[in-house]
Structure formats: C-alpha cells, structure tokens
Symmetry: C2
Subunit: 468 residues, 2 copies
C-alpha cells in the first residue's frame, strides 16, 4: 500500500468496525436473545445461542466511539511502525500510548461487566474462560523447566549436523511448498499460497490465503513456515463443519485453539521422524541427492535448536521464554502497573530471570516494539498455549495410535487429521476451550506434555507466525 | 481468486450493497433532506444537497432485496464468464438472463420515478441528465461519418510505417511506464502501477491503483494503456478538490466525464506530435536508438489505425462503430424490445450497417459476451461519449492555447491540466454534465470535433480500458 493510502484505509476499517458494532449491539437483537429459550434446541444451536449472548453482552459494554477510536489508533500505530521501522523510541511510544490508553479503557469496561481483572477481561475475548491463574500455573511450571534445560539443549545444538548445499532456487522451493501443502490436504480451489514479507494466513473459509517467504540460503524456513500456515488454513477451510459456516459454533473456539493447529502441523507432524522419511525423496527431487537429505540427518536438521534474538527467529527454548516475558509485561501494561515508557527497564529485569540472557542486547525500541506489538490486540500467551495444546493433542493421539510415526510416513493426514477434526474442530468442541481440552485429551492443559520423553522434540516454538 | 471463493465474495458484496442501501434510504435522512433549505448555502453545498436528494430518491425507489439480488447475479455471471471463457452460448445466457431480468426490474422502477423510458432512467444513474435523444443525435451523426471515412483511413493504414525492433523487455517497459506516469503527474505516494490481465484503475483517492499488461512484441500497448489509466487515476487522485473529498460534489460528474479523462491523456496528449517529441529520447534510452523512434515516425506509429475484432483491440474507427452497435442492442434489451437470445442475430443485422464488416466473424457467444458484458452495469455509450468530450475539451484548450503542441513537448502537464482542473474537475463543474460541457467548451456535445481538421488524429478509440 502506498503511504498516502493509510489514512483512508484506517478510516474505512474504523467505519466498518462501527457498522459491525451497530449490528452486534442492535437493541432488537438483545430483546430476541434474552427472550430465546434453549429448550427445543440441539447442542450446536444451544452453543450458538450462548455465543451470541456472550458477543452481545461484551459488545454492548463498549461504546461505538471507543470501537472506532481503537481501530483508528491501531491503524495509525501499525502504519507508523511499517513506514519507519528504524523509528526512535520516542516516536514509537507516542503512537503506542494511544493504543494502550484505548486498550485499557476497553479492558476497564469489560472488567466491570465480568467482575474479573482488566487483563483477564480482555483475555476472555480471545481465550473464553481462560484465567490468569491458569496461565500463571502453566507458565510458572514452564519457566523452571526452561531454565534447567537450556544448557543441556545448547549441547545438542553444538553437534555438527550435515547441512544441505546452498543455494536453493526460489522456483523449486515454491514447487516443493505447494506439493507439501497439497499433501497436507490444502485445497487450492479454495485458497492460494503467495509471498509476503511476514508469512500469515487469512481470508475467508472458501478462499484461504497463505503466504510464505523464500530465502535462497534456507529452504526449511519457507517449507516449515508454509506447513505452519497450512495448519491455520486447514482449520479455517476444511476442518470445521461446512454446514455450520457463518454460525458462531463454527468459529475457532479460541485463539490458542487456532494456534494449536499450526504447531500440530509444523512441530508435531512436520518435524516428526515419520515426516522426515516422507520429505527426504521430495527434497532429493527438488535440490538433488546429498547426505543432508538422508532421513536421519534431515530429522536432526528439522529438530535442531538455534538461539535467536527476536521472537520470529527464536528457537524452541528461547521462544516460550520470550512469550512468558511478553505475557508478564503485557499484563502489567493493561492492569496499569506499568507504563509504555517502563518497558525497556522491565524487559531487562525480567530477562535476568529467563534464558537466554543474550536477548538483552536488543535496542530499547526493539524491546518495546517486540514487546507490545500485539499487546492491545490479542494475548501473546496464545502462541505458547497453542504449542502446549498441540503437544497435548499429539500425546492423546499417540495413546490411541501407537504407530503414529509409521502412519505419518505413509500418509501424514489420515490419523492426526481425523482426531483433530473429531475432537477440536467438531461442533461439540464449541464448549469452553478448557472443557473441550479436558474432553479431548483427558485432562486440563498440562505443561508436562511438551517436555515428556514421548514428545520427540522441543515443540514450544511458534516459528511459522512471524507477524509480530 | 481461487474459484471456491466466488460465492463468499459475491455474498460479501451483496451484504455490503444492502448495508449501503440501508444507509442511503434511511427515512431520517429523507426527512432531513426534505427539510433542508438551500438559502444559506454556497454553490458547492447547494450542489451537494441536490446530489444527495437525487441519490435518496433513486435509492428509495429500489427495494433492498433487488439491490442484493442484482449484486449476487452480477457476481455469479462474472465468475461463470471468468471460470469458463470458452463457455457455450447456452451456459452463458443462463446467467445473463438473470442479470438482465434484474436490470429491467430496476429500470422499470426508476422509469416510474422519473417518467422517462426504462433505458433512459437507467442511463441517468451513470449519465445524469443525458437523454437517449441526445445520444441518438451524436451517434447518428457519427455513424454517417464513420461509414464514409473507413475506406480512406484504411489507405492511411496501408502505408508502411517503420516499426521498432522487438522484443521489448518487460523490465524496461515497466521503468518507461513508471517514468511517463510520473511525468504526467501521478503521485506514487498515493498510488501504484501493477500488472493484471485486463488493465484498469481503481482504489480510493488517496490510494489509486493502476494496472497495465506487458507484451514483449509491443511496447505501445502497455505504454498507451498506462497513460490512459493515468488519466483516470489523476482524475480520482488529484484533479478533484481534496477539501471536498467524500462529498457528492467531488464525485465524478458522470461516467462519460470520467471516461473523457483517459482519452484526454491517451489520445489527446499521449498521441500528439508534441508528446511524440518528448517520448522519443525516453524510448531511445529504454530500447536503444533506431529509426522507428525518430519523432515523425513515432508520431505515425502512435496514430496508426489498425482493425481489430473486439472492442479492446479495435482501432479508432472500428471502436466507435462497435460502441454504437452495443448501445443499440443494450437499449433494446433493457426496453424489452429484444431478448438475450436475440443478440447474435441482432449483432449480424446491425453490423451490416456499420464498419467493419469483418467483425461478423466473431462466434455467437463472443458476440453476446462482447455485447452484454456491461449492459446491466453501466451504459456502454460512455466510452465514445467520453472520447468525444475529450476532443471537445482539447478543441477548447487549443482555442485558448494556440501553441499547445509546443507546450506539451516542453511539459505535458501544464496547459491541459490547468484547463481540465478548472473546467471539468472543479466544484463548479458539479452541475449537469450537459451544462458543464457547454460552460467549459462553449457548446453542447458536438460530434464534429473528433473529425475536425484541427483534431490531429482519429481519437474516438478507448483502447486503454480493456475490462469488457
């Protein structure tokens, strides 16, 4: 988009947000929702009614002017960030203070409605039913484990795995990505795979748009990023019941549930030993036969842990540490316990307690930007919660299908896809995500799964999503 | 767009159309418009009030269901056409009959409101104040002239002008197009130039999107197409007063007025002798020195007339004949004097009276498709009316600026741009297009201008717009 277009785009988004808000808060709709009886309804219809009531209550708690102002401020903030990525802290914070002020205002109103803390009230929009106590429980457990295992994993990383010969032509990477995406069931008559600076998935269910990016020195980034986005795309496009399209019950149960689909694809299927065996001949076909593509070596490459300074390049151990840090700062900002100007100092202080300490080398602006890019739009915790859910789903699948690896090596879709569809995406999954998780996997969110001996690799990264 | 996305896209467009219709027909708005007094208003405000009243009246004449159905049918029709360009007549007509039925329904309602014929009522939405009698008058005159001059122009075409050496690299064509677009005042901080199958201009005023297409055997197609779209883009983006953005008075006065901007740029400026002199060194820089780029030869290449079978490839003489034919068929369809199935026969019959006869070689489906692609969405006449307006504007400019060609050779923007801004794009241009044309050029639309000896070339083509 040319820079001059941002204002018109922001105004159009704000206008649409206001129109949608008006539809959602229509008093007539409120009367009908209040008067509706759930008695004659089936499960899906009852879930629809519950979700529509929740939506109506949360929406009517917010004035239209706030909804509009929030959209405009987010648009202005994002544009300033894109237009001047090297921007100094002062200019960056000027726009961010506005975003934060409006997010706090929204959180305050939702907090009054729900009788919970401001951050919890805001989090409830993205993670219905999730509490800060629950996040603190799993993140607290994780923190201890991360600190202990960081040194051990570093040793594993030090081993000299055989790398593949560079460069990798963009054209061949593209063909490979499309092939693998198709293999994972993505329907190109209802979607596309394109290129963008920051990979993402979007669109509507009948037209899912995935993007990736190609580097000629690393085919794994585009490939695994594509597999990651395919997880999101499949969830949007096919894994939820088509006959309920447009009804609340067919929406993603929560952001963490959505974020559990991409690591299910990337970390649990895509980086498994079975998948390495499946991938090896495709890589030989694309880039020529070489020792790096021996399945065992390929598996080592797929599960190698390397440190990275920022979230999107972080390894599987740095990554969750990073998310925990951001969750803590985000919460302090929304609750009013910290101000945007405090972020660089807070970052340093919290980083001392978390691996890896080298991330302190980021500039103050980068610390802020990294930290608060999403703060007011969604809960950062969803990435790690999603990865933990994925580990828990696959532990459950492995209990049901002991030879999962062999099955993935033959046909990666069959076994895990059926389980995910029946347990995570079906309409009966429309309950709270906590109860759905318990029903699907036998227990509530358990941070032990990602580090269990059965979990074949450190799987807490969310590398594919590089949008913040 | 992947084919699966069409239904969702059509549904979204129809939903937006219904929402906009609801805003436009809000009874409260009607009361306010009725009660408003024009006394204390300035010219622009009075014009705004008049336009809002007109919009309100025309919109309230149409039921929301019709507005939605029309959008859905158009979307379905267009998708079927794109998905199967080789479609047989039967399948093509099945979708088109729906479009036509709804267009007639709309025309009938607007006809009752305005007390004019159905086609005239529909045309009034795109060409406020234009009558069929007026179109018949100028097209009748044109028809006679076309028939007489076709043979003469063919002889001119037969002369062997020196062509440039092929191929022309896409990269260099792209750089050339961007350079020329900038030279014509297009602001790339508020717009882009990209590639598409059918060149178009779109977007919003702060973000104007132009497209072109490159062929390695013909640099003039991309270049002149780009100049053409730049005319539309400049009108949207800069030539109308920014302080009135979003107000009716700043909208394009009529479709023909909008369509007069692109031939003003392409045919009147871009194919003038002065511009050929300006272009010559740029072509040498892009493609190397060669006799074809001598200014006199280049001017001959720019004004060469070649026959083409369909509108988008038609020459400057075939083109208006084609538009007249389509206008006549379009009118018969809307008035109910012909049915979609009659089109192939009607085409043949009318083609006998018009040059060039070879266009009869088109298949029945192509005749239908060519003929009715836009029938229900806008009046086809706008292309030729626009080209005639452009010739009339430039005759007026030449009266004021006798050395126009020399001025264009020095700086193509100055003289014509000021005149167009002050006479066509300024808020005082908000009256009916007929009175605006008369005020700007001293007389009503006059078909003599395109064929006057002062008009340096046959300028009635509208080659740049290739969307139907």
């Amino acid at each position: 988009m040319p820079p001059g277009g941002n204002e018109a785009r922001g105004a159009a988004l704000a206008e649409l947000a206001a129109l949608m808000h008006r539809l959602r808060t229509d008093p007539q709709l409120g009367c009908e929702l209040e008067g509706a009886s759930g008695e004659a309804l089936d499960d899906a219809q009852r879930a629809n009614l519950r979700e529509m009531r929740r939506e109506w209550q949360q929406s009517t708690a917010l004035p239209e002017a706030l909804v509009q102002a929030r959209t405009l401020a987010a648009s202005r903030y994002e544009h300033a960030w894109r237009a001047a990525p090297g921007q100094r802290l002062k200019g960056f914070l000027a726009n961010f203070r506005d975003v934060m002020r409006l997010a706090r205002e929204e959180a305050e109103l939702l907090s009054q409605l729900q009788g919970v803390s401001k951050y919890e009230a805001l989090m409830d929009r993205f993670e219905p039913g999730m509490t800060c106590a629950e996040v603190d429980r799993v993140f607290g457990d994780l923190k201890h484990w991360l600190r202990a295992s960081c040194a051990r994993r570093r040793n594993a990383r030090a081993r000299d795995d055989g790398d593949a010969d560079r460069p990798f032509s963009t054209e061949r990477q593209k063909a490979l990505c499309e092939h693998v995406t198709r293999m994972l069931g993505f329907d190109f008559s209802r979607g596309r795979l394109d290129v963008s600076t920051h990979p993402f998935s979007g669109g509507v269910r009948e037209d899912v748009r995935l993007t990736t990016r190609y580097r000629d020195d690393d085919f794994l980034q585009s490939l695994m990023g594509t597999i990651h986005e395919t997880g999101h795309g499949r969830y949007e496009e096919q894994n939820r019941p088509r006959e309920l399209l447009g009804q609340p019950v067919s929406e993603a149960r929560s952001m963490a549930f959505h974020e559990s689909q991409s690591p299910s694809f990337e970390m649990q299927i895509g980086r498994s030993r079975g998948f390495a065996g499946l991938l090896a001949p495709l890589l030989v076909e694309a880039f020529g036969a070489q020792p790096a593509f021996e399945p065992d070596n390929l598996y080592r490459l797929l599960t190698r842990v390397e440190p990275g300074l920022i979230r999107v390049d972080a390894d599987e151990l740095t990554y969750p540490a990073h998310v925990i840090l951001r969750y803590e700062i985000e919460r302090a900002l929304i609750e009013g316990d910290a101000e945007p100007d405090d972020i660089p100092a807070l970052w340093d202080e919290k980083m001392l307690a978390l691996p890896p300490r080298h991330a302190r080398r980021l500039s103050a602006t980068a610390r802020c930007r990294t930290c608060i890019g999403r703060a007011a739009r969604s809960a950062i915790s969803r990435y790690t919660l999603g990865a933990m859910y994925a580990a828990q789903w696959f532990a459950a699948i492995r209990r049901e299908v002991p030879d999962l690896d062999e099955r993935i090596a033959r046909r990666p879709r069959a076994a895990p896809f059926d389980w995910l569809r029946d347990n995570i995406c079906s309409p009966r999954a429309a309950g709270r995500s906590r109860s759905c998780a318990a029903r699907a996997s036998g227990e509530r969110l358990n941070p032990a799964f990602p580090r269990a001996p059965g979990a074949a690799l450190p799987c807490l990264s969310h590398r594919g999503c590089r949008s913040s």
